[in-house]
Subunit: 381 residues, 4 copies
């Protein structure tokens, strides 16, 4: 069915993003994958194109439409080219800025937001630790007050943009005895003494994104880098995670749609036993099911996008969107691989990469099991 | 997520229908199930309530809002009480009237529509034959012209309302050599000589609906009972089937929603091993998945309802809605049965009946396999 | 693949059972279904045929081959005709006798076993109560010692053969404070004062089996009717449940095999669009999958049958067999229904009844969820 | 359940293979993966260990037990360490030798078999072409007789061991008009003029195996390198494919078993929310299901192994084994990835590699769709 949530302004924006992607992104993916990360140039161009400032108020260089449909457009168009890049941009432009905008001081706004919007300040958010990502309230990195500074010790892992980020929002324990209520967010910046990064992690997929382990050894973070109130970090993360999850759902589905479209094309052209492989009823029915599943999911996500645009998206609906869409994404692309036969197992084929890229979407941003916990709890179970 | 397609007028109508259902339907289901059919009284009350005239122009006693949301409301509220009744009303009020309204002569309008709207003329539509339902174009019942009359011979089976209907729209072959292009629709009425009915079919579920085999032996149908042009019946059925399929989707999902709600309640109350069975994580996650699946499906159906209200629903989107929603309905209810344990296997429990009632939704109105054929063809496969 | 576990003696026995079934069972199923239970005549004939004495030592009239393959043969051949009857015979001949044989006194052996073997004493076992079946250790029916008698109070539900049984093994609490270690088995017999039965329960399927609620009001059971030691009933049930579960798996799969065979036949004969419906690739692949699933499952069950014959079947392997086979049974038959189209929803078709009959196999004999608990625990989780 | 097919001699052999694997294989996998292929040294050691001569008669240096259980042991033990290596050895030792042994001339036996058994002659088989693998009968590589030589032209792709093989069995068309009946097998050897190889293909997984495209430009193959009769190649491949498919099933399942075992260990140790993640009921049930699925599948494969040992395995049963086991393998490992959380997406974790390695097993050796075609046809559909 025709999607009904976009107005002319979104469609115009989509055209612009699509053009940017085909001009600046697609031709370079190969090289960035080999380099295992996005170059600064990409970020600056994306900034110039207005992709990084959607969550940044105009006075700091952003567009700030306060209309999540624009964010969705960015995600969708990027994900058609590269799932990894949509997720890197997601962290940088969609997930980190709201923390600064909503919780930051005017001084922090002025210091950080212009760079975020223009792409000169790449950001990351570091919650997960080697000992656990799901049980966020139990994190072990500590920050201890020492005069006007806080001394941060610990490590984080699996941090998207972690290797290249200039500014990392780090969740650390400030009140040991208070569990969820003893966590604070710190803006840790490149160059702070004691802040080191491991090598880029060798992932199953998404080579064009850098993911890293971060180490904090007596890093002295000035108090003015605290984001929000001391000991309120957990609640802030809970408040912001829905947007992260909706994003993951949106670009996950867009990714699957694109690969599915390409696969349908392949299934029409590839011949076996004298007919196109898509004409075999088993494959025809399969493709009919996948297309249906994708469109059904889109309808739900579109509702969620509208709800979020209206400021009404609940955490539990974001959880539904995230788990459902990432499952669909993976299921669809797995079938697409099969339809490509042996080529589906060759990295030079987009479908093969997509398959590897997609898998993590069921794990990160709160694993799908954690999503079901949230939904189940919401049912009163 | 909150559904966004209904306005105040629909919600008011929903309240009225819900009240009607709880007053006139729910208390009688047991008796109607035992009687294996709905009494005339039901039809008259439903007519009075305005449930049967949504597709009938005002001049003939209908409401005719030309807004499919009202139809959806009727289906949803009936299905919460009884899936069977929603399907009977579907045939009578949602499927048959458009044939008469769109194709009928002014004389037919005047003759039939008032009775349809008030419930005094119960209707059915007879396409399927013992030798096949999927391959409609291949039907074998014949109608041969004889002066001002047509002589109909053959039989039909699985006809909803077939035992009690006053007026049956019968698809018959008028041009033997022309396959799909040789089928015509006839209004066959109770009392015509040679028109007989078999006993009420003994179905797996839905005892409160009558389903019957119909026999036509030299039935002389006057030419003025032809609905639409001779030899155009197939195309008319194709044109009207999307509404039938959307209806099946809508009441199928409403049925599942209701049973799921009741099951969640049961899972909270039923105890095992010292806790409610819904608190076991396996069940909690399962219910989280089912609720998500239902809501995702609702979003798609709501889009389809709006598209149909705008006159834009394509046959292929109706096919998607029908197969997907009926699958979801059955999957959801099957899990609900399991959660009820042994009680789920006892007919006195609503969940048990729902399970039996739901199964046919994957078969009728075009089997789900036929739906996938349509979708696959639309993809160019 | 050819099954490899049966020797000539089993095959001969199979032929005899098959002949008995086709002569004495198949022609009567309809009538027994209408009567909602098996007549005494059936039991006596089955006894005469040697079907009821496989677990009864020869001195008491049984065959007692101590080779579970014979039991499997009985189940398989009965289930091909009627899933319900295989389950009734299962309770009577396969589940209850071992309690008496293994735990009973010589006097009980002499009193009860001959009747069991000849079919004049029909048996049942009553564990489940209205308040719960999964949490067996928590049962509420009490038995309090009073001299040489025990006074039993409480109720049981969902008891197979419960309406017609002459002898019911009843699990009752004898030590309130000792949970699982305070349960004792009693042989309660027809005619004992205060032992009453509710009506035959109205089930989704299996009408030819009677299932009933049992009520015990100050029933005085003589001490010599205690089966096994006081307070050891729970451990005995745990010891005997594996055989019950293996049985449920064996006849569940045999049931599915039979229906699947019939469906393949139907799919070859039924035509649509000018070809047999089984020739459509979607259906062909589906049937290929179902046949494979059935054969894969058979291989596992055959291993389990051999293990049990050797006295080596673990409780956890029985749990695997039960949950897996009952899932396969239901999945297979559900697809078979679909392949029959509208006929699959008509009770006169065997596939329709099979579908209703099969559903309970995932619930009883320990629900599939309880099976997974056992398996999971065995993994050390 | 305990597997029952192995005798002491197989278990002793298993111990020896296991030791070889842990000594010579496991420590080197990393390096071989980086080198994108197995070194000659590996082959020679494997030959010395007796792994490569199971299909080679003793007079040519093989073991030739004519007992497929030994082959199964080799596969299982290799697959526990590396799915890729089991597949490379499969081609070299299990798939190619039977062609030579069964069809070859005494001269070919003497020329090739000793090298195969000792690992000095690595082999490959080249059926698939860029234009299609499923429709084997339609292959396009040609061989035209020219005196005592045949001139081969065309290309093959996805050839396992293709980059390193000394001897490649190449299927080529010798009678253009005869489709399946016009294909002949040629032994093409390294060094023949006009025989070239593309680079090692960049696969999704299995880096330690080399897979290559092969090009034949006027390659003059002497007539004495024809394997079997001219124009009978297709039937020979059909005859030998069941063994290939059984092998794929056997090492696929062994692979999944191993990863599942490791995952259960991980699930016991990894903590979240104060308990091991395997203790959450959802995960516990999931692992219970996966273990069951693996054991059920093993039972079927063990039957198939015994049937094949007895020379009775049908092509259709091999097809069932292959599609079913590869599906199970992939499903199991996918869930294992999920249980590892973020680590499941890191290449340094075995589970991550296993996930990538496994995917192709549903595609090669005849895709699972082709397997279902075969099974469906065998059902008469
Ligand atoms: C490529 C990549 C990029 C990432 N980017 C970031 C980033 O930018 N910032 C950041 O902070 N993190 C990031 N993450 C981390 C990610 O959010 C975590 O991996 C995820 O939250 C899971 O945590 P974990 O890996 O520690 O798994 P664990 O928490 O150890 O979980 C292991 C398994 O147990 C399950 N489990 C846990 N609790 C329960 C429960 N109660 N019931 C049932 N099952 C349960 C999980 O679902 C999972 O299957 C990234 C991860 C990856 C792989
Ligand atoms: C309770 C009930 C009420 C009904 N009410 C009505 C009614 O009011 N009016 C009316 O006209 N009909 C009615 N029907 C009939 C219903 O529409 C048909 O049963 C349905 O269309 C299927 O036709 P069939 O039963 O002849 O199955 P068949 O057409 O024989 O199909 C058998 C199987 O083959 C499959 N199949 C068929 N073609 C293909 C293909 N090309 N590819 C793959 N698979 C295929 C089908 O999906 C099905 O699984 C009703 C049926 C029931 C059970
Ligand atoms: C036709 C029929 C015949 C029967 N015959 C007999 C008989 O002859 N004798 C006899 O004693 N009983 C008999 N039973 C009863 C049967 O064994 C029980 O119905 C069954 O054990 C489930 O118990 P329940 O119905 O009380 O469900 P409950 O125990 O209330 O369970 C409800 C749901 O909760 C789930 N659940 C329970 N515990 C857990 C857990 N820890 N984790 C996750 N989920 C859980 C269950 O799986 C089920 O889905 C019969 C039942 C039927 C329907
Ligand atoms: C890593 C790897 C190693 C390999 N090793 C070897 C080797 O050593 N030697 C060798 O000869 N080959 C080898 N192969 C090739 C492999 O056997 C083929 O890839 C496989 O047979 C499928 O052929 P294809 O890739 O051309 O797909 P296609 O034949 O183009 O098939 C594409 C899709 O269409 C489906 N399809 C085809 N026909 C039908 C039908 N009738 N009905 C429904 N669906 C259909 C297929 O299942 C598949 O999903 C290897 C492949 C890989 C990836």
């Amino acid at each position: 069915m025709r999607r009904r949530i976009f107005e002319t302004e979104h469609e115009d924006f989509r055209d612009a993003v699509a053009e940017f992607v085909s001009r600046q992104v697609t031709p370079n993916i190969e090289a960035w994958a080999e380099a295992k990360g996005l170059p600064r140039e990409f970020w600056l161009q994306a900034g110039q194109q207005g992709l990084l400032g959607l969550e940044v108020p105009e006075e700091f260089g952003g567009g700030y439409p306060q209309d999540y449909r624009f964010n969705a457009v960015v995600f969708e168009e990027l994900a058609r080219a590269s799932f990894a890049i949509s997720s890197c941009v997601g962290i940088d432009a969609d997930i980190v800025p709201p923390y600064i905008v909503d919780l930051g001081t005017p001084e922090q706004h002025a210091r950080w937001l212009p760079g975020v919007a223009e792409g000169s300040t790449v950001t990351a958010i570091a919650m997960t630790e080697p000992s656990g990502g799901s049980d966020l309230a139990n994190l072990k990195t500590t920050a201890v007050r020492d005069g006007d500074e806080w001394i941060v010790n610990g490590s984080k892992t699996f941090i998207t943009n972690g290797y290249s980020a200039d500014l990392v929002v780090v969740a650390a324990r400030t009140s040991p005895e208070k569990k969820a209520k003893g966590i604070t967010l710190f803006g840790v910046e490149t160059g702070m003494a004691g802040f080191e990064r491991g090598r880029k992690l060798d992932k199953v997929g998404q080579p064009e994104s850098d993911t890293a382990e971060l180490f904090f050894t007596d890093v002295r973070v000035p108090a003015e880098n605290i984001i929000g109130q001391v000991d309120t970090g957990f609640i802030q993360m809970m408040k912001n995670l829905p947007q992260e999850r909706l994003g993951a759902a949106v670009y996950g589905l867009a990714h699957a749609r694109q690969i599915l479209d390409e696969t349908i094309g392949y299934a029409k052209e590839r011949k076996a036993f004298g007919q196109s492989i898509g004409a075999f009823q088993h494959n025809k029915f399969l493709l009919a099911e996948l297309v249906t599943k994708v469109e059904v999911t889109q309808a739900f996500l579109d509702d969620a996008i509208m709800a979020h645009t209206a400021g009404e998206l609940s955490a539990v609906d974001a959880a539904k969107a995230k788990y459902w869409a990432s499952d669909v994404q993976n299921e669809v692309i797995d079938h697409c691989v099969q339809l490509y036969g042996g080529y589906g197992y060759m990295n030079e084929y987009r479908v093969a990469r997509a398959w590897k890229d997609a898998r993590v979407n069921k794990i990160w941003a709160g694993s799908n099991e954690i999503m079901k916990e949230l939904i189940g709890r919401d049912l009163g179970l």
